[in-house]
Amino acid sequence: MGHLIEIRDMYKIYAQGEEPVHALDGVSVTVDTGEFVAIMGASGSGKSTLLNILGCLDTPTRGSYLLDGIEVARRSRRELASIRNKKLGFVFQNFNLLPRMSAVEQVELPDLYLGRLSRHARRARAKELLARVGLGSRGSHSPAELSGGQQQRVAIARALMNEPPVLFADEPTGNLDTKSSVEIMELFTQLSAEGITIVMVTHEDDIAAYARRHLVMKDGKLVKDVTTP
């Protein structure tokens, strides 16, 4: 049986400047369904680069990437958009909510591009997801009226809208205090328990501790891969 994510000999080389930067320098890794993975490493080691390629937001210079058994490294922009829409959820360090749009509308967005639900069902599902991340009563609030932790929870609800099998998070707690960080990580743990695959970048050990498997990067290379039983 194939892996959910399988990358082989992945290179990302930035050529501008006097010397090319090998942000990814021959990375091979597989991730199976239901895993909770933390990518760690020093600043500039290539964590975000790897996550962006895994999330189909960026394309590698070289290497192959099988997502759910299909090759995605050489797909058109439209096809990649559709893959991101249906199969991948994103949570960013800076939340990336749209200004002056209510929480419910933010959460509805992914289905607007998919068009799977009726207007009514979409609204109902968005409210249900907000309730699930503990924001049942804040649906009508705009980002400016929410705390950082609440904004990140709206972002998580949005990522879950189209029921993606995988969730990618780049330093999801980087902009949050300890209390909010713990809440977000407990939410991740719960989602993981429900069977969603999570790949998360972090450089904090106590955040990484929530994940069962740890990948460590150094200078664009994968130097450690440990799974706690």
Binding site: L57, R77, N96, L114
Partner: protein, 405 residues
Amino acid sequence: MILKVSVLAILRNKMRSFLTCIGIIVGIAAVISVLAIGKGASTMMVKEISSMGNNLVMIWPERNRRGEVRTGMGSGQTMTADDAEAIKRELGHLVSSVSPTINVSCQLIRDNRNWNGRVSGVSYDFPEIRNWDVSSGRFFEEHEQRSCARVCVLGNTVKVNLYGDDEDPVGTILRIGAMPFRVIGVLSPKGATGWGQDQDDIVMTPYTTAGRVLQRSRFRAINMMNVSLISMDDLDEAKREITALLRQRHKLADYQDNDFDTRDTTEIMNTIGSVTGLMTVLLTAVAAISLLVGGIGIMNIMLVSVTERIKEIGLRMAIGATPAAILWQFILEAMVLSTVGGAVGVAAGVGVAHAIGELQHWPIVVETSSAAWSFVFSSFVGMFFGFYPAYRASKLNPIDCLRYE
């Protein structure tokens, strides 16, 4: 929903959106209002001219170079009542009637009331030629014309000023200059011309009477004549024969120009038509230029908007917006901007046109087609000039957008 996104984006920056639209608003408003005023004017003129009677040829003596030749002075006059009578006599197969006109300015006196009036000497069939009837009494008849009878028919303004609203002037005696005239009828009111001249401020007498009694001219000079044709189909032939007859009567040699002008209503209509057509072409050019300028304004603001909202674009792409969806979002936004601008422009133009019409007592005709075209064109402008910024947005890489600082 995508439309809602566009509207929200526009509302977020109300002032900027308004300033962006202003080019389109002003352009469309100018075109709509000028078209409405111009169309009103030409409709009015056409109506007035066709009310003159359709198969009419008007003939004026050639104007003196030094300005308008005054009646009664004799020497400069080239056209006489004899010419008019000759046309009627000799071109009877083409012409149904001829009404010479002699205009004299006279003091009208009735008891203690005084009025400075315009007296027109015309022929007995004038009411028929010019579609203008009497409202009380009667018009003068052929025998009165032949005998230079001192009878007159009053225009409504003259009647009101000399007799008031209630008194019936028919049968009374009115002094025109020094001569007593019997009032035999009152003309039905016609109102002002589009140029503001009161057509009812007039007294009509037989042209024979006007020439002999009021003007006292040996030459029987006339100011103009209205020639009514039997059929409009003969227009060209009639004009040719009238011209030949008048040239012969005026003893003009081949090398000499006509000493008279002819105009027919079709010709005047055509002139109006071509002036209106020219105006439409000019306005279309103005519209095109203002839409171009407005469109460039929209393109500019959309380019700024794309840069400003680059993170939003990145996020939308990350959650599944295809390049086409991004393209449409921005094109739609530009279209909403320009269409709203166009709509505001149409409304402003109609408002301005009505305000001017109200102030100047000018008829206003707003054509639905021009409003509809403005609408269509302004949204097309949005689409056209919104395309490039939208295309640029759609070509962006999601990760570049998300990392943009």
